[in-house]
Amino acid sequence: MYMLRMFIIYFSEFCMLYTIGINLFYNGQMLIASFDMFSYFKKMKASDYRRYVESKNMIPISIIVPAYNEEKTIVDNIKSLLALNYFEYEIIIVNDGSIDGTKEKIIQEFDLKMVNQPIMQSLSTNEVVGIYRNNQYERLIFVDKVNGGKADALNAGINISVYPIFACIDADSILENDALIKLAMLFVEHPETIAVGGIVRIANGSIIKDGKLIEMNIPKSNMAKFQIVEYFRAFLTGRTSFSKLNSVLIISGAFGAFNKRAVIDCGGYKVNTIGEDMDIIVRLHKTMKDQKKKYKIQFLADPICWTQAPESMKDLRGQRRRWQIGLFDTLISYRRMLFNPKYGTIGMLTLPNYWIFELIGPIVEAMGYIFIPLAYLFGLLAFKSFILFFVIAFLLGTTLSLGSILLEQTTFRKYRSFKETMLLIVFGIIENLGYRQLTVLFRVEGIFNFRKGRHSWGRMNRKQFISKEEKL
C-alpha cells in the first residue's frame, strides 16, 4: 500500500511537470511557426510564382495516387488532378488490387485501354498486371497491380513515372489548383530540396464539383469539427516549426512531393508498414546525414490538399490506432538516431520529442486521467490542488488550440464568417472535454496493438464529396 501511495504521489507530480513541459514545447513551436508563417507570407507577396504556372521551364512532376477500394472518391480525385494549374505533369493512379469497383469505375469513366508499356524497375514491387491509357487524357496513366500495400503501390508508381519529381496524393484527397506549383517552386528555389509536404485540410461539409472545391464550409459532423482544430495544431504549428529547423519527420501520405532520385537511392518506400510516410522521411534524413550531403526537407502551410476526416467513432479509432502504430514502428526502426549528435536537430530534438510527447505522451496522459483522481480519492491530493491541476491542464491545452486558430485567422483566413470563427473557438475549447481523451485512448490502444496492426492498408469508410447540385 505504501508503494502504491508513493507511486501515486510521485506520478501526480510527474504528470504536472509533464503537462508543463509538453505545453511549453508546443507553445515554443507555435511561436516559431508564427514567425515563419508571417515571413512566408511576406515572401509570397514578393514572389512571382504565378508566372511559373504556364512556364515550360517548371519542373515536370509525376503525381502518384495509390488506391485501394476507393470507388467513392477516386473519379472526383482524378478530375481534380486533371484540372491542376501546371504545365507539364502526369497522373499515375496505382490500383493496389482493390476488391471493390475502383478499377472498373476509372476505366469506364476515362475510357481507358490496356497498353504495352515497359517499366523501369528501379524498385522491386508486386507484379503489375496492366497499364491503361487513353490518348484523350494524355496525362492519365492507370496502373493495375497485385495487392502489396500502400508503400508497394507508391513504389510501382515511382517505377512508372518519367519525371524527376513525384508527388504522392491520397485517393480521397483534392488538391487546390495552385498547390502543385507552390510545392514545385521550392525545388526550383532551393535545388537541394529533396522533399516537401503541404498542408492537409478537412473537406467534410465543403462543396466539391468536378474535382474542384467551390465552397468551403464547416462540416456538420462534430467529430470532423474537432479535427479541423486538431489539424490546425498539427500542421500550422507543429510541422511549420519543425520545417524551420529542417527537421520535419512526417510528410503526410495525403500530400507530399519528392525528388525521385533521392527516394530511389534510399530504397524507396518501406513495404509492410502502415507508417510508410514517416518512414521515408526519417530514412531520407538518415541517408543524407550519413552521406554528409546538403539537403532540405520542408513543409509549406500554403499549398492545400483537402481530405475527408473520419466522421464515425469507428473510423476515427481506426485512423488514430493506425497513426500511432506507424509512429511506433518508425521510431523503433530508427532508434539508433535518438540522441545521436551526428543527426543534429533530428537526433537531439525532433526524435526525442516524438518519443516523449507523441509516442509515450498518450500513455502518460491516460495514466494521469486514472491516477490523479485516484490520488484525490485516496486523500493524497487536496481537492483544491486536484481541481487546480485540471483547470491548468485544460487552459494550457485550450491555449494551443486557440493559438492555432489565431494563426489561421491572421494568415490564411479560410473560414471567413464570424459564425465559423466562433464555432472553431467553441470546438477548440470543448475538444479538451472528451474528444481529446478519446483520441488518447485510441492512441494507447494503437501502442498495445503494435504487433498485430503494423502491416495493413489503412481503411476508412469514404463518402462521396458533396456536389453543388446535392447541396441545392
Binding site: 508543463i20 507577396k45 512571382d48 504495352n116 508499356q117 528555389e189 486557440l402 493559438g403 485567422q409
Partner: protein, 349 residues
C-alpha cells in the same frame, strides 16, 4: 494553493484570454479593413479609368483626386500599385508615359526609392517586383547594387525587374561580373531571360563568351525556344564542349532550330560517352530527324540505359517512315529494343 501553481494558473488564464480576445479582435479588424480596402479599390478603379479615358484638362483633376485619396499613406500607395499591376503588362506598356507622370505626382516613385533602401529583405524583394511590373525607369542602378546582398529572393526579383525593363546593360553586368552572387536554379534564370523585353539575341551574344560553363548552358537553354538562326554557330561550338550540360543544351537548341543540315551533328551524339547526352540527341532527332537517322536510332533502341532506348524508339516512330523501320526491330532479337518500340507504337496510334 502553492505560489507556483497560482502563477501557472494565472499564466495559462492570461494566455487563454489573450488568444480569445486576439481571435475576435483580429476578426473584426480584418472585416473592417477588408470593407475599407474594397471601397478604396473601387474608388481608385473609377478614377484610374477616368484618368486614362478623358481629355487632357480633366486628367489633371483626376490626378489631384488620386493624390488626395492616397496622401502620404504607404498602405494606400501599395493598394494603388496593386490596382495598376492588375491592369496587366499590355496596359502598362501602352500608357507608359502617362503612368510615369502619375508615379511621380502621386509619390509612388519616391515611395519605392525609400523602400528599396529599407533594411527588410522582403520589402526590398517586393519593391523590385513592383518596379519591374510597373516598368518604372531610372531605378536600375539602385537595384543592381542590391545584388551584393546575396539574398536569393532579392537577386531573383532584381534580375526579373531588369528583364522586364529591358535593361540589357544591367543584365549583362550581372551575368558576367556578379555570377558568383547568383545562387538561383537554372529554371529561375531561364524564366528571367524569357521575361527579357529587349533583344535576346543581343543579350546572348554579349554574354555568352564572358560567363562560365554553367551560365552558358542556361543561356543556351533559355534562348533555344526563340529559334534564332544566327546563333547556330554558337550552338555548334558548344556541341563538342567538355561540359555535359553544355552539350545537352546545344543539342536542344539545334533541334529547336529544326534545320536538316544539323541532323548529322546531332546524330553523332548518339554515341556520346554520357547517357544524358545520348538521350538528348535521340530526343532532338525526334524533331529534325529524317530517314538518314533510322539506322543509328535503331541501334540506339538497344542502348544500355532505359531513357536512351525510350527516346530513340520514340524518335524512330515519330519520324515519317520510321514505323516501317521500327517493325523490323519488333521482329528482331533485342528484347529491350522490342519492348520500347512496341509501347511507343501503341501510344502513338
Amino acid at each position: 494553493m502553492t505560489k507556483e501553481a497560482f502563477y501557472l494558473l494565472m499564466i495559462s488564464a492570461l494566455l487563454f484570454s489573450f488568444f480569445l480576445i486576439a481571435i475576435i479582435g483580429s476578426w473584426f479588424f480584418q472585416y473592417f479593413s477588408d470593407v475599407k480596402t474594397k471601397k478604396l479599390e473601387d474608388q481608385l478603379d473609377k478614377l484610374l479609368y477616368c484618368y486614362f479615358h478623358t481629355e487632357n484638362e480633366n486628367t489633371r483633376s483626376m490626378v489631384q483626386k488620386i493624390v488626395k485619396i492616397i496622401g502620404n499613406r504607404t498602405g494606400r500607395k501599395e493598394i494603388l500599385i496593386n490596382r495598376l499591376i492588375r491592369c496587366g503588362d499590355d496596359f502598362i506598356e501602352t500608357h507608359h508615359a502617362s503612368l510615369m507622370n502619375l508615379y511621380e505626382i502621386v509619390g509612388i516613385k519616391a515611395y519605392l526609392q525609400t523602400a528599396l533602401a529599407s533594411n527588410n529583405v522582403h520589402m526590398k524583394s517586393l519593391t523590385c517586383r513592383y518596379i519591374g511590373e510597373l516598368q518604372l525607369e531610372n531605378m536600375e542602378a539602385d537595384m543592381i547594387a542590391l545584388i551584393s546582398n546575396q539574398n536569393n529572393d532579392i537577386t531573383y526579383n532584381v534580375m526579373l525587374a531588369l528583364a522586364k525593363l529591358g535593361d540589357m546593360k544591367g543584365l549583362v553586368h550581372i551575368f558576367t561580373n556578379d555570377a558568383e552572387h547568383i545562387y538561383l536554379s537554372h529554371r529561375a534564370i531561364i524564366e528571367i531571360i524569357s521575361a527579357f523585353k529587349g533583344s535576346k539575341e543581343e543579350l546572348f551574344k554579349r554574354t555568352i563568351d564572358l560567363c562560365d560553363d554553367y551560365m552558358k548552358g542556361i543561356l543556351i537553354k533559355a534562348i533555344a525556344e526563340d529559334k534564332i538562326e544566327s546563333l547556330n554557330p554558337y550552338y555548334m561550338t558548344y556541341l563538342n564542349s567538355e561540359d555535359k550540360n553544355l552539350r545537352i543544351a546545344s543539342i536542344r537548341a539545334l533541334s529547336e532550330l529544326n534545320n536538316e543540315d544539323d541532323e548529322s551533328y546531332i546524330r553523332s551524339k548518339l554515341d556520346d560517352k554520357d547517357w544524358e547526352v545520348r538521350a538528348a540527341a535521340a530526343k532532338g532527332l525526334e524533331k529534325l530527324g529524317t530517314s538518314q537517322s533510322f539506322a543509328a536510332l535503331g541501334k540506339t533502341t538497344g542502348d544500355s540505359v532505359w531513357w536512351v532506348r525510350h527516346n530513340a524508339a520514340s524518335a524512330l516512330i515519330l519520324i515519317p517512315g520510321g514505323k516501317e523501320f521500327a517493325s523490323r526491330i519488333i521482329n528482331g532479337e533485342d528484347k529491350f529494343a522490342r519492348e520500347a518500340v512496341i509501347s511507343l507504337i501503341e501510344k502513338n496510334t
